[in-house]
């Protein structure tokens, strides 16, 4: 890469701003493409045409799409995210309300995910094809193959209902029973742990086989230190990218877990908003997600560059 890191970051931030701008447009187009609009959905099982028309007028949906988008964008430039079509509450309130639980879940999951995944990866990579490797791989993969909803139902049945160790849901708000976070976090962990650990393992096996790892061992560096200090960094670049995607998945709403354990976070808001054709809310989420993604990707790319310094490839 020719660019110096700082210049590179600046350019990336500019590009990122462009992306954040592009996302709502994309999302707006997509939401417009959806059949029906907020009025139709609001009418529900009483789709009296006159009533729908009235609703449409009330929601000012009778104006051309471009105009509506322009208005929204105008408000955005004043830092305004607009108001929800359905309840009329400010979109910002929606987001901030839902953000708290989502952030909590994401933070907890990630802090557990990284050590767990790396640890498992290290274990599996100790001896390729060895009993430990097979055991770790098989178990994690088997768990990986169980979808969140099934896993959630299962864990709840055992730990909440049979044994009664944990509250099964966070109904009424997490504040009341923090223990209710355990199950969702576990469910959220189950699959990323596997996919991440697999990447760690793959990278480690390659790195450990590389001459420099062998040399480090010959120089009397203890094997574990070689794994952690010499091989792992080379293995991490793709892992970091994968972690960024996972983090984003966590931050942009984990619908199943939220529904199962009644943790109304961004995912729920997103789902409701799309279902209700509540365009302003969807747009608000788009902006939020866009920003989160851009920042995460930037961080990931920075880390990746640090971990995989490039030789001067001939341009």
């Amino acid at each position: 890469m020719t660019a110096t890191p700082r210049g590179w970051v600046r350019r990336r931030l500019l590009l990122g701003a462009g992306q954040v701008a592009a996302v709502p447009v994309l999302v707006f187009v997509l939401t417009e493409a959806l059949p029906g609009d907020a009025a139709v959905v609001a009418a529900g099982d009483d789709p009296d045409p006159a009533r729908i028309a009235a609703l449409r007028a009330a929601l000012r949906l009778d104006r051309p799409a471009v105009e509506r988008f322009a208005d929204w964008a105008g408000e955005l430039t004043h830092g305004e995210l607009g108001r929800s079509l359905v309840g009329g509450r400010p979109v910002a309130d929606h987001l901030t309300e839902a953000l708290a639980p989502t952030l909590l879940l994401a933070a907890l999951t990630l802090t557990l995910l990284v050590p767990a995944a790396v640890g498992l990866g290290l274990l599996a990579a100790r001896r390729e094809g060895g009993a430990l490797d097979r055991a770790v791989s098989t178990v994690t993969l088997a768990v990986y193959a169980v979808p969140e909803f099934a896993l959630g139902v299962l864990l709840t049945a055992v730990f909440a209902l049979r044994l009664g160790w944990l509250p099964p849901t966070a109904v009424g708000g997490i504040g009341r029973q923090p223990a209710a976070l355990v199950l969702p976090v576990v469910v959220l962990l189950a699959r990323p742990v596997c996919s991440t650990a697999r990447l760690v393992r793959a990278g480690l096996l390659d790195a450990m086989a590389a001459p420099y790892a062998v040399h480090a061992l010959r120089c009397g560096v203890p094997p574990n230190r070689v794994r952690l200090g010499h091989a792992l960094p080379n293995a991490l670049a793709p892992v970091v990218q994968h972690l960024a995607r996972t983090a984003e998945w966590l931050l942009c709403g984990v619908i199943v877990a939220e529904a199962l354990f009644v943790v109304p976070g961004l995912g729920t808001v997103l789902l409701d908003a799309v279902a209700a054709r509540d365009v302003p809310v969807v747009q608000g989420l788009a902006v939020l997600f866009g920003t989160v993604t851009v920042l995460l990707n930037l961080a990931a790319d920075l880390a990746a560059r640090r971990l995989a310094p490039r030789t001067e490839v001939a341009v």
Binding site: R218, P222, R225, N234, E312, V315
Partner: protein, 488 residues
């Protein structure tokens, strides 16, 4: 001052398939003594040495005993033949060294000492660099520094001076003596007989995997019938008079070439040179003076440079990517580190042949045949070349790398230290081959080398790189000015 042996190999026999790599070799590493292992390329030096480290070729059947009794469990310092491959590309030099220091209970001071001993203290900003930001010789010395940091009582140095200029090599020899004086036992694998004479107490001469002679240097090296000594002045210096160099057209014309590295460090300043067809310009200079960089610039592998490079009067694109097949074929470069220029998984022979397929439009079979022939000419048994690079010795790989470039019939060839790892005979045959090409096919050679003998043997002119500038040097004392030049 020889105490109980630190490490010993007894009747070592290493076989891969039908092939016997090492056949009943015995040697001992004694404290305070430097044991040199010499012998023609492919004679089994590296294999023997690695056996000492407990490493063997894939699927090898091994007999004999290796005892590290004296080493007392401490690691054995190892300076491998291809230093480039054993340096972690993702860690900064500083991290690599400090990590070792910490493991072996040393601090920053230990690191500094090791760097000083390994002649690296002058390289500015070394610790912040990544290994790939070092020159070949610097990498080699870096690995040596690592070996020193381990504080090993036994050090195995495999061709530790291939990348070093004579001055540095000389200092390294002194270092080895110092180490020995401190009671370390060294096993030195080298083709550099000067080095061996200077530093070795005992020499084991290998041939075809067998230890043919053992004893003090003078005895072993000066005894009659010494197949592996260089002919004092190869006959091939005699050149047909009918091709006066001056008359030949200018192939390569370089003016105002300035090259820098990402850090912004300028390595070459306003370098200018011109090469006529059938001419050989030898390029010497302290390690780290920018020889490789220059070669890479010409080859289009280092586009970050200004200045013009004309090939037959035509400007040459800066990057290989923008050079068409003709141009790629016309200007070729032989990598300093032959090992890392070959893909691990494919037979070397195929990789050599592939070049002919791509750049000369040969059919695969034809190319394979041609490659085999060429390798044979360079003294490398094609059967060996049918193995992936891991299965070839250092010197064999170097010849393979040369063949890979020669096979495309280049007009200009940049050779980067291609003789460093070769015994005198092999070297002689290679030089002969190059000279032949030069004279018959009018091949223009830029011959980067630290090896005076090779330079005398081949070069028409000699130029020396120092602090980024090119200094024409009288062919008489090509290395004369080096003491003066600041080390790179």
């Amino acid at each position: 001052m020889s105490g109980p042996e630190l490490a010993a190999v007894d009747g070592l026999r290493v076989r891969v398939g039908a092939r016997v790599l090492v056949d009943g070799v015995s040697l001992r590493v004694l404290p305070g003594r430097v044991t040199a292992l010499v012998g023609p390329s492919g004679s089994g030096k590296t294999t023997t040495a690695l056996a000492l480290l407990g490493a063997y070729p894939e699927g090898a059947r091994v007999s004999g005993t290796v005892s590290l009794a004296g080493a007392g469990g401490a690691p054995i310092g190892h300076v491998p033949q291809h230093p480039g491959t054993v340096l972690n590309p993702a860690r900064r030099v500083g991290v690599l060294l400090r990590d070792l220091a910490r493991v072996h209970g040393g601090g920053p001071e230990a690191v500094r000492r090791a760097l000083r001993d390994a002649e690296l203290s002058e390289v500015d900003g070394l610790l912040r660099r990544y290994p790939h930001q070092l020159s070949g010789g610097q990498q080699q010395r870096l690995v040596l520094a690592q070996a020193l940091l381990t504080g090993a009582r036994v050090i195995v140095a495999d061709e530790p001076t291939t990348g070093q200029d004579p001055a540095t090599a000389h200092r390294l020899a002194a270092l080895f003596r110092r180490l020995a004086a401190r009671g370390t036992g060294l096993l030195l694998l080298s083709h550099d007989l000067a080095l061996v004479r200077e530093s070795a107490d005992e020499v084991v001469l290998l041939a075809d995997g067998r230890a043919v002679r053992t004893g003090p240097p003078d005895e072993v090296l000066c005894a009659p019938a010494r197949p592996e000594l260089p002919p004092v002045r190869p006959a091939l210096r005699v050149r047909p008079v009918m091709v006066p160099t001056q008359a030949a057209p200018v192939r390569l014309d370089v003016t105002g070439l300035t090259a820098r590295h990402p850090g912004g460090a300028v390595v070459l300043r306003e370098v200018g040179l011109s090469l006529r067809a059938g001419e050989c310009l030898a390029l010497t200079g302290r390690t780290g003076s920018g020889k490789t960089t220059l070669g890479r610039c010409l080859a289009g592998l280092h586009p970050r440079h200004e200045g013009t490079v004309l090939l037959d009067g035509e400007p040459l694109p800066r990057s290989v990517r923008r050079r068409g097949r003709q141009r790629l074929a016309a200007v070729q470069y032989v990598f300093q580190d032959a090992r890392s220029a070959f893909a691990d998984h494919r037979p070397v022979l195929d990789q050599v042949a592939r070049a002919a397929v791509r750049l000369r439009g040969r059919t695969p079979p034809a190319a394979a045949a041609e490659a085999a022939a060429l390798l044979a000419e360079l003294g490398l048994d094609p059967a060996k070349a049918a193995r992936p690079p891991g299965g070839l010795s250092g010197g064999e790989l170097q010849r393979a790398a040369l063949a890979r470039s020669l096979i495309v019939g280049p007009a200009v060839l940049v050779c980067d230290e291609i003789t460093a790892g070769l015994d005198a005979d092999t070297r002689a045959s290679i030089l002969a081959h190059l000279a032949d090409r030069r004279d018959r096919a009018g091949l223009a050679l830029l011959f980067v080398s630290h090896d005076p003998a090779a330079v005398d043997a081949l070069a028409d002119r000699v130029a020396t790189l120092a602090d980024g500038r090119l200094h024409p040097a009288s062919a008489a004392h090509p290395f004369g000015r080096q003491g003066a030049a600041p080390p790179g």
